[in-house]
Amino acid sequence: MKILIVEDNRELSETLVHYLKQEGYLCETAYNYQTAEEKINIYAYDVVVLDITLPDGSGLEILKQLKQKRPDEGVLIISAKNALDDKLTGLNLGADDYLTKPFHLAELNARIQSLLRRKRFNGSHEITVGDLRLNTATAQVFIKDNEIILTRKEYELLLYFLSNRNRILNKEAIAEHLWGDNIDMADSFDFIYTHIKNLRKKIASYGSSNNIKSVYGMGYKFVVE
């Protein structure tokens, strides 16, 4: 999987590369409009992570060119502007997703994965982790081929964990993933705790050995035995 990261801030760009490499992606970077333009015209990528505000041009222009040349490449916009117009413009121009800075790396990772799942037309919509199988097309979860019934948020939570398995997810990232800005942090931690407790119970009741574990002082992670 090849990813191009178009981001003018080197520090952030390097961090993203570092993180995504650990996730098993091949990453290339472009720090400005010119380089980005060259690279998208020469190489093909699976996903382009695109910052809209570049020092020498607009990321939206790159997006237009990209969509003309290779319409099935996935594009994920990252922008510091939480402007509704930008978001709509980006999505109308054919971007697949839109993340507002500052985002959680786990969130970026989950979005990239979901993007890739959607892009692979012939691929499966299934994620299999140990004895757990999750179908993203039908939003069903199976443990040892028995379907378990989850609430909508529990399903989203599990998908998030599976996208970032064996990684620690902190509560803020989980809260923001589940509810965006729709909830105050204070409450959200109690909610997360309750959600995770219920989800664990359900998974354990079907006899799966893989489950969510608490990591003291940090958050939670999905451990595959």
């Binding site: 939480n82 990232a173 729709n182 909830i183 105050d184 002082g217």
Partner: protein, 420 residues
Amino acid sequence: MRLITKTTLLYLLITAIVIASSGLVLYNITNNFVQKRIRDYFTHKETRLTGYLSKPQVDLDWINSFKSQHVEPLSNLKTPLLKNYDRDTIIFNDLEGERQPFRARTLDKVVNGQRYRISMYMALKESRLVLGGIITSLFYVFLALLALMLLLNYLSSRYLWQPFNYTLEQIKHYSLNQGIALAEVPTTTKEFKELNNLFAQMTSRIEHDFRNMKEFTENISHEIQTPLAIIKAKIEMLQKTEKLSGEQAKTIGAIYRATSHLSKLSRTLGLISKIENQEFTNREELDLKTFLEPLLFNFKELAELKQVKIDFKANDNVFITIDPYLLDVLLSNLIKNALSHNYEKGEILICLEPQQLTICNTGPVLDFAECEIFDRFRRNGHNSSSLGLGLAIVKKICYLNNLDISYSYQEPLHCFTLRF
């Protein structure tokens, strides 16, 4: 009261005073003249009568045959002589066939040792007429001036004050955000030109400052996000190493939370300034019931976690005209608020009636004054992890869209009422 009316009234007052005083002066002059004529006439008559009376043959009948004089001999009493006794009286004038005002003078005179009582009369009609004429003519002059003033008033408000009214109209419709340049007002009046120039200068100054502020807000809320993204990413990388002690993990968790708080804060403040700058103008007529249902569905699961019962009663066909994004922010914040300030196993009652939406919830009593509930950074119970901006946003949206929001506490419910 309009300026033009005020000046007219002032002018009229001054004119009235001037005309009244000139009338008084004229009256006095005429009156003095008339009085003098009367005095001269009486003196002259007295001399003539004295002349007649001093003749050896006094023909009193002949003298008394004149209407304007009357002489009667008095017996030689020791009574003092009557001095000039002047008075106004009404006498029937048979020439004109009507009763008319006369000035009369009666005096006693001793001529050749004989006392006479002489009365003389003089018609006052003409002088009265003259005086009346003066007053009437002045009154007509005043009326003419009044008419002239009204005409001038009308003309000046119609033509002279036109540019001023035009400027007022511009000020009335002036809005900072629209960035519309002010139209040049065609006028040759120095004061209006000055007013327009000042107004133009003022607006350009305000616009300049406003742009600065706006840029600052945008820059700060925009430029802060990338460094925050780096901090967040780096912390996540640290957390992944798993070689941290519990203490370090806690510290890093705290840093992470503070960073999240900071980014949320700047984002929310950015949203508030966007709302203030009226960047959401996509007004549509929205059906509140169909708008609320998916929102409530989003919160349903959260409510269940807290075991809060949501009771939703709604009339059909209640419409509100507002930007859908703003309505979403507004209602989400209100419902979020009702949920997060609630007890475990509490209740939320949402009632949608025509022109009114009420959202009530159980929850702990406020530890601050009711009127402060919509203030920025006002949190109940010093809950430092909440931003304390939700209700401030609600208030702002309501204010800018002419909606009325009010809070009241009726044991055991906190109620927010939105009227539209």
